[in-house]
Point group: C2
Chain length 242, copies 2
């Protein structure tokens, strides 16, 4: 294989999924450093809407994104889990720290706010905001597919779970985002991978009608994200995020 | 306040929750470095089983764990999101890298396997394994609370969601853990915070009967975790993890 032609990095991207994040980050790295990569888009199974089984041959979890970096030792080249892939790409290729804050342990207490905020959002996206949104989506789909005689009971269950646990967690996370963006243009001071990581969750909330119109700073931040040249390239190459 | 008496670090721990991880890590840091901290255990609301509203006064998300480090600048002292708290504690206090692999960017490709594995598990726990387990638990509780005439429909919905999405994700994650532990005693080479992060998820799976008896290496790893002196202290101070 000619590496100049094919690149050393290959991304398996699933349409309308978290792997959009990696396309966007790779486009940022391409613009900033000239990093080259190869994009393989795989389509969701039409019936189940899940990733196709073929991905299991590349990584045992069988879920996108999967990043192959053939500059890694044999047997260690396939990387999974979107946030972990981002952290790897930044360590390996963001040598000027343009997309992730870096701080020495000695300065962590006095000058580490951006670094701490970055860590928070990188984990908060999948640890706190996405799970209730995904559960809400699954319940909605299950309810839509259920027969008419079951719908009243299933909708009552769905509403109860929303009231009990989902709505507060989603709304609370979005309020926190809005409050932070009231004082700064990006989630961790300068633009960083934390904005990419969180964008997908907040965009998902907006698409589902869960992001209040009154969250003006958040809407402005989404627009700032969407006006970045790397984001525009990512959309062109990989389709919409969700 | 006398810092020698109260310590500079304060952890708000919710019983039977993810914040057990932080107690365990703080106990590891105490044994290794003599780091002192103060433990505040808060109890779940008896009716909702959620964190009490009082936590919202400490951090806007109102969920445990919340770590207060008063050596940080005023207004930046409250940290949330369990994995982000762990990453902070390690950077600030694990100066000899006893609980997290460290690698230079220059050596990342050749000697970075432990670091890459560590990043994977730190994100995989909450990004991939916990969400289907939490959803399974919520569906189970909702089903148990529903009236008798609704149960057949709700159980059918629950089984359908399990078949469609939850079971494969939980089982697949646990198979991956078992395969990795076949070749090494800990998830990222040496014992690290990745074991603490993943322990809670795998222990939860075991408690719910989702961890097959045949996953012998995983059962052995759980036992290795549970025999660590810091784990034993954490249980004594904070109660069982779930």
């Amino acid at each position: 294989m000619d590496e100049r032609e094919f690149g050393m990095i290959k991304l398996y991207h699933l349409n309308k999924s978290r792997s959009f994040r990696i396309v966007w980050l790779l486009e940022e790295l391409k613009l900033a450093y000239g990093l080259d990569y190869q994009l393989h888009t795989v389509e969701r199974d039409a019936a189940t809407y899940l990733a196709p089984d073929s991905l299991k041959q590349i990584h045992p979890m069988g879920k996108a994104p999967i990043l192959i970096d053939d500059s890694l030792p044999a047997g260690e080249q396939a990387l999974a889990e979107s946030a972990a892939i981002m952290v790897y790409l930044l360590k390996a290729y963001d040598s000027k720290a343009q997309f992730h804050p870096v701080v020495d342990a000695a300065a962590l207490k006095t000058h580490g706010k951006a670094w701490r905020d970055y860590q928070f959002w990188m984990h908060f996206a999948e640890g706190s905001l996405m799970p209730p949104m995904v559960m809400s989506l699954i319940l909605q789909k299950a309810s839509a597919k259920s027969p008419w005689f079951a719908k009243p009971i299933i909708n009552k269950l769905k509403d109860g779970i929303h009231r009990m646990i989902l709505d507060d967690n989603i709304a609370g996370g979005l309020v926190l985002v809005e409050e932070v963006l009231h004082d700064q243009p990006w989630l961790a001071d300068e633009f960083s991978a934390a904005d990419i990581q969180m964008y997908l969750a907040v965009y998902g909330a907006k698409m589902r009608g869960a992001l209040p119109k009154s969250h003006q700073h958040t809407h402005d931040w989404l627009a700032r994200c969407e006006s970045r040249p790397a984001y525009v390239s990512a959309i062109t190459l990989a389709g919409t995020p969700l």
